[in-house]
Amino acid sequence: MTKYLPFLVLYILFGLVACSDDDTPTADPNDLTTIAYTPEAYTVALPAEFPPLEIPTDNPLTKEGVQLGRRLFYDPILSADSTMSCASCHQLEVGFADPLPTSVGIDGIAGTRSGMSLLNIAYSLNGLNWDGKIASLEEQALEPVTNEIELHESWPNVIEKLKRHTDYPSRFRKAFGIENKSEITKELAAKAIAQFERIILTGANSKYDRVLRGEAFFTDEELNGFDMFFDISPELPDAECGHCHNGALLSTNEYFNNGIDNAPTLDDFIDKGRGEITGIPFDNGRFRATTLRNIEFTAPYMHDGRFQTLEEVVDHYNSGGKYAPNLDPLILPLGMTDSQKQDLVAFLKTFSDTSYQENPDLQNPFE
């Protein structure tokens, strides 16, 4: 046995050297550790009247995360045929909403709901989408990729495309500190998209805000609209708007039946909305109240995009809505004249503020 000992030692030595070579980071094409991981916190410039942002502790905002999310948001790589991205149905120019009544996916099939505005979506803590089906932005970002009438792709395919990409692996490394391409996951992609969506904020520079700060004045028409919106003047009808659309965000994010469908019984709603999620019949026909910030640009309106103009929306509310047993008690005939309806629309347009579009962090990085 002893005569073989030197060979054994040599064999082990060669073996160790060989193993050592295999573990050398540079030898692994998927290794990312040569790229520095030094994430910087992303500071959000919140409008002064906005409440503090609530950010999940496991997904803090970083510059690298936001930029990765921005790219994923605008990149058609998430769709099966590379023709559509998140931005296809959430367009910067129209308040990150969809100008179509109901969103159309890569196969040309229309869904049943309108793409909601993502403005100030970080504050939607009472459920996302029109019906509150999804609790967090991180969860929500996973859904459109696999939705058959949206991006119609599979996450394993997306992950493979991202791993093969010349740029994304490095960005995942910089954003999340992964050490190997194999660590790219749909959850990390969703976290990045959620980070980007949390910085889609607007609110400081609308005429409404400037008037509240004493920097501008409403026209007579806008002032009438303001008084009706918030029920300030007994001389004018109460338009009842401010109950569901108030505070700095101009939204309560609660669920209401705002009377757009006639339903003699609670089972008669074509789209059951919130009720589909909770299973509670009294929630049927209820949908989330959206923000009115930039409402001028987010047409068409309602969950199915049935109203093309703000005038149609105001006409609807002025009518008192259509009957259902759970019609919200704040939906009632308002008695506004044609002139008063125009005043209300004029006021609604004071919520417009397109300055967010100038934020380079929100713009399409591929243009």
């Binding site: 409440p51 309560t252 003699p264 509670i280 009294f282 919200d328 704040l330």
Partner: protein, 269 residues
């Protein structure tokens, strides 16, 4: 922002410390206390959307019921000064919202439970709270709080009054008897003048370490609308109030609602 900015961190600190029930420098033995509120109508579980019959025969339903509870304290005897009972603070401001619980019959039977943790053990003889938001916090605005905080929800604030909405009672009435709930029923009350202090519920309790204590309080909506021995509110003609001082009768109506609301609670267990 009505308050100076430097007050914000202070108020947030005090509110979070008082409402975060398991925080604070509690020493000695402690236990948990569950306080359950059950919304009923004429003693029966109130299920939102179900048709109810009012005292005058009008059919109506309720779709929302909530109230702010302030200065929730446990009372205990003070041997040193029997005229000045001791108070143990449970919370400063809480929102009791029946929206989820009373959406179903099962939930309505269960009620809404608030669990206070780390309550010092010992003898207590009452629970008390105020109805509404105490003026100290009613001067704040939702933007002063995080969105998930009860005082951070813009839906619970009415800018015209510069006040939180102390109670919400909403539903619809069938004014013609044809089976359609054709008219709104809505009471939103607020402003400091309507804050109701001193809701007291006597109950002798001995809190023992690691032995949860329970208390159940019913809120009977019939007592809000048609109090026993009092004058029923006409829910058709007086079925709507935002407590708008510019509209005749709304403040008086909301005052009645708040006083009735205060008296509509009963300790049942």
């Amino acid at each position: 922002m009505k308050k100076l900015l430097y007050l914000l961190p202070l108020s947030l600190f005090f509110l979070s410390s008082s409402c975060g029930d398991d925080e604070g420098p509690v020493t000695g033995t402690t236990t948990n206390l569950n306080i359950t509120f059950k919304a009923v109508y004429d003693g029966q579980p109130l299920v939102f959307g179900e048709s109810l019959t009012y005292t005058d025969g009008t059919a109506f339903n309720i779709s929302k019921l909530q109230f702010f509870m302030s200065n929730a304290n446990l009372i205990s005897p003070n041997e040193a000064d029997p005229n000045t009972p001791l108070e143990t603070e449970l919370s400063e401001v809480k929102l009791v919202d029946f929206s989820s619980a009373n959406a179903t019959a099962a939930g309505a039977t269960e009620g809404v439970t608030i669990t206070y943790t780390r309550i010092p053990t010992g003898e207590y003889n009452a629970f008390k709270f105020g109805l509404g938001v105490i003026p100290e916090y009613n001067d704040d605005v939702p933007a002063d709080y995080s969105s998930s905080h009860p005082l951070g929800a813009p839906s619970n604030y009415w800018e015209v009054w510069e006040s939180y909405i102390f109670v919400k009672l909403e539903g619809r009435t069938d004014t013609t008897g044809n089976g359609e709930f054709d008219q709104s029923l809505l009471y939103h009350t607020g402003t400091n003048a309507l804050f109701q202090e001193g809701l007291n519920f006597s109950k002798a309790m001995t809190l023992v370490e690691d032995n949860e204590a329970n208390m159940t309080i019913e809120l009977d909506v019939k007592e809000i609308l048609a109090p026993t021995g009092g004058t029923p509110i006409n829910i058709i003609n007086d079925g709507f109030s935002h407590t708008n001082p510019e509209i005749d009768g709304q403040v008086a109506l909301s005052t009645t609602v708040m006083q009735n609301f205060k008296n509509a609670f009963t300790l049942v267990d």
